[in-house]
């Protein structure tokens, strides 16, 4: 669309040296880099690799469950698969991919040249990456690859006392513990970096109230990380003390407490959902206005709702523990806290709808993913309200209804907006457009697969099918539903194939994007695609939330309306 240079002097016009560097030099450049963009891309690439691995684990599980009494994998292997699938998706796909986009976009959106602590940034990436590699190192040895090696088999929330030495001999649980520990250290490092960048590195005129909403959402996310990831890391250390130094924190055989682990885990575990979903909201907050051709509706309310979600998310963890027998007082409190969080979340959805309303909606692939996100997030939120009512939860907790609910959030909301983010920001990152036709194939196939799998997964849950079972009996009436659920996987696999092919093909020979292909309004679109190492030749100055709108519409700038 627009091919002008929006900010005078923002683009360096001196030509780059032409000689092609050697492969080793390129590799060395990536390994030693402290550039936020390269680190961001490494986060994203690493997360994509794990997305494919953990996706294949899910495929194996769905094949096993397609029919009752199937014997494709042994019970032990199935247990390893769901443990690795969950752990990988949360810690080594979700967090890195979101931090990857954050790393890449936040300095660009703030008009900064890099993160506040570039070396800490590199350290955080590599330590988290080693955590993931360590976890997968467990596949070597033991029963070999087909038997999933000595991969952990304690479930992604690894309830005590199953992790105690007596129930989990060998080192499988240690791989899990240390992998999470390292990932936690990296996460806290990156969160610290992002918060400092947001506070200290904004360009002139970029007041807190003028930051793009995506930056606000990362800010709140990182604040939640500070509170939530610490307990998880502490719990891993306590568990290691139990296993190797004779501690009894969680060792019920010696008087330890299984419930203590649940508290530690879920004090992390529920805020974690918001750590993942807030950046996803951030993507929607940038993409929906641009393709509606309107400013976001109710910016201050969106920020306030996010802050509210941040606070409330820290006081809802025990809704994962309604069946533990904490008593009516605790159950009532956590029911209330969980229901209240629906209010700020609802404000967000209504504001998005209001943003669309009266706009001129361009259905690009990025926008299609965002629209699907809105519908699916609505459903996920409402099944969440159902589960928050603890009597409902007594029945459905730990069943496939819960599995369907949280996949609706993690896939239907978060993964869909991540795909949207790829289609939206890939031109900035690579300088080339992703192919829209392949993108539509990707979207529709994934949409069909998603709904086949996760809509129908609610039903066996209501019929009494618990999660984490490697097989089930013929006489329970779950067979047909599981077959439908498994059939959806085929569509999803093909869709992901389209996506990966699209990424590779477009990277090589996609249409050249130019600095601002979407006619967008935030600062990252004012520099070249891909941006140079220093981002901006001269640091920009802004007067409003949409600096590029002001430039393109000097007769009617945003700064006239914002307070």
């Amino acid at each position: 669309m627009a091919d002008y240079l929006p900010l005078t002097g923002a683009i360096d016009l001196t030509s780059a040296p032409k000689a092609r560097p050697l492969v080793l030099e390129v590799l060395h450049g990536w390994v030693t880099t402290v550039d936020h963009k390269k680190i961001g891309l490494m986060y994203i690439g690493y997360a994509l690799v794990f997305l494919v691995i953990a996706g294949l684990e899910a495929v194996a599980m769905r094949l096993q469950l397609a029919v009752p009494h199937n014997s494709l994998v042994s019970p032990q292997v199935f247990n390893r698969l769901f443990t690795m699938h969950g752990t990988t998706m949360v810690f080594f796909v979700g967090m890195p991919i979101l931090f990857g986009f954050g790393n890449y976009l936040i300095p660009l959106m703030l008009g900064a040249r890099d993160m506040a602590f570039p070396r800490l940034n590199a350290f955080s990436f590599w330590i988290a990456a080693f955590g993931g590699l360590l976890l997968y190192f467990s596949f070597l040895g033991g029963d070999g690859l087909y038997g999933a090696g000595t991969a952990p088999d304690v479930g992604w929330f690894a309830y005590a006392p199953l992790t105690a030495k007596v129930f989990s001999p060998g080192h499988s649980t240690d791989y899990w513990t240390l992998g999470i520990l390292l990932s936690g250290v990296g996460t806290i490092g990156t969160a610290l970096n992002i918060v400092t960048t947001i506070i200290a590195m904004r360009c002139p005129g970029m007041e807190l109230s003028r930051m793009p909403l995506l930056v606000w959402l990362y800010f709140i996310t990182c604040c939640i990380v500070f509170v939530a990831v610490g307990p998880l890391t502490a719990a891993q250390i306590m568990l290691s003390i139990d296993r190797y130094l004779g501690g009894h924190f969680f060792d019920t055989q010696a008087g330890g407490s299984a419930v203590l682990w649940m508290h530690f885990f879920w004090i992390f575990g529920h805020p974690e959902v918001y750590i993942l979903v807030l950046p996803a909201f951030g993507f929607a907050n940038e993409i929906i206005p641009v393709f509606s051709r309107k400013a976001i509706f109710g910016y201050p309310a969106m920020v306030a709702a996010t802050v509210a979600i941040g606070f409330i998310s820290l006081s809802v963890w025990a809704h994962h523990m309604f069946t533990v027998g904490l008593g009516p007082g605790a159950n009532t409190f956590f029911t209330l806290a969980t229901m209240i969080i629906a209010v700020p979340t609802g404000i967000k959805i209504f504001n998005w709808i209001a943003t669309l309303s009266g706009g001129n909606i361009h259905f690009t692939v990025a926008m299609m993913f965002c629209v699907a996100f809105l519908f699916q997030f609505l459903v996920a939120g409402l099944t969440g309200i159902m589960l928050s009512a603890s009597p409902f939860d007594w029945q459905l907790s730990g069943s496939y209804f819960v599995v369907a609910h949280f996949h609706y959030v993690l896939v239907g909301a978060i993964l869909f907006t991540i795909f949207a983010a790829f289609y939206y920001w890939f031109p900035k990152m690579s300088g080339r457009m992703l192919d829209e036709t392949l993108g539509k194939w990707h979207f529709w196939l994934f949409l069909v697969g998603f709904h086949l799998t996760f809509d129908f997964m609610h039903i066996p849950g209501v019929l009494g099918m618990p999660r984490r079972i490697y097989t089930y009996e013929f006489d329970r009436g779950w067979g047909i539903w599981n077959l439908i659920v498994s059939s959806g996987v085929i569509f999803q696999v093909v869709a992901i194939g389209c996506f990966v092919f699209n990424l590779l093909r477009s990277y090589a020979k996609g249409r050249i994007a130019g600095p601002d292909p979407w006619d967008a309004w935030t600062l990252e679109w004012s520099t070249e695609s891909p941006p140079p190492v220093y981002n901006f030749a001269t640091i920009p100055t802004v007067q409003s939330r949409r600096p590029l709108w002001d430039l393109k519409h000097p007769e009617d700038p945003d700064s006239n309306y914002e307070m």
């Binding site: 006392p161 309107k294 009516p328 209010v343 404000i347 209504f350 001129n360 159902m386 029945q395 009494g464």
Partner: protein
């Protein structure tokens, strides 16, 4: 149901508006080539979609709180039956302390007449890892946690077999830690109790099998009342033959299955904790014959 109705209504309303907006404001070829009017927000509108959800949440919360307290603080009638439930990897132990009965995996309870309720109170704990007691048609689930006693009650109103299973991941064979609850009329239940209170069958015809059982490691884990076998690690076998299933509901209790099970349990339920006993054919046949007499 009330919760379901409210959430469905919200979905239809919000989803409908969203769909309308998407269709009404989609990009058309006839659109003028300029940006639409920029609207930055509206305090009145935003206030309304804050206050209305708050009101909905208050209503939902109050109805939910009432159910929570009615369920969890219900007073226990004197006519209630007490059962101690102990979760094991990977089977259920049921003890009826007032009746002197110990059994496994198949819970027998009287059906409850609304005018004269005889609910069953389950006092639950675990011998090893976390488990969860879930029979969907009878009640929500309650976790079974080591070092902790949780109490729940069930109150079936019509006779029949209610299926359930462990609902908290507890190890390799979590999937085959099944549960069977038999709701019985008061008369049938009393007859079952009287039969379970009998000592174990000491019929001389099966003396060979009994001696195989008693001189092998079986007695370390299993109890047969009236013999030296007093192990607590595995299910009580005093009235094994009166049960419909073995291996925690996973396998029909037939002599043939029983024989295969004793020969190599791991083949029928991989990862279960009972070892293969490596008996010779003669001993295997004898001990199977003995166990089938334990009515």
């Amino acid at each position: 149901m009330f919760v379901l109705a409210i959430t469905a209504a919200i979905f239809l309303a919000a989803g409908g508006v969203l769909a309308y907006v998407l269709i009404r404001y989609r990009q058309r070829a006839t659109d003028p080539d300029r940006e639409p009017a920029q609207i930055y927000g509206s305090n009145q509108i935003e206030l309304s979609w804050t206050v209305i959800p708050v009101l909905i949440v208050v209503v939902l919360f109050l109805t939910t709180a009432r159910v929570i307290f009615n369920t969890e603080s219900a007073s226990k009638p004197a006519s209630a039956l007490d059962v101690v439930v102990i979760g094991h990897q990977f089977w259920w132990e049921f003890r009826y302390p007032k009746l002197g009965i110990v059994t496994a995996n198949e819970l027998h309870v009287p059906v409850s007449d609304p005018h004269h309720p005889t609910p069953t109170y389950l006092e639950m704990s675990s011998a090893d890892t976390d488990h969860s007691f879930w029979v969907p048609q009878l009640a929500g689930k309650t976790d079974v946690i080591p070092n902790r006693v949780n109490v729940m009650w069930i109150d079936p109103e019509s006779p029949g077999l209610y299926l359930g299973q462990c609902a908290q991941y507890c190890g390799v064979q979590h999937a085959k830690m099944l549960l069977r609850v038999y709701g019985q009329s008061q008369g049938d239940f009393d007859a079952w109790v009287a039969q379970q209170q009998q000592p174990a069958n000491q019929d001389e015809a099966s003396v060979e099998g009994r001696s195989v059982f008693l001189r092998n490691a079986c007695i370390n884990c299993h109890t047969i009342a009236g013999t030296v076998a007093a192990g607590r690690f595995g299910p009580d076998l005093t009235h094994l033959a009166s049960r419909d299933t073995i291996a925690s509901g996973a396998i029909q209790d037939t002599p043939d299955n029983l024989r295969k099970w004793i020969d190599d349990p791991d083949r029928m339920k991989p990862g279960c904790l009972m070892p293969a006993m490596h008996l010779n054919d003669r001993d295997l046949t004898a001990v199977t014959a003995y166990l089938t007499t334990l009515h």
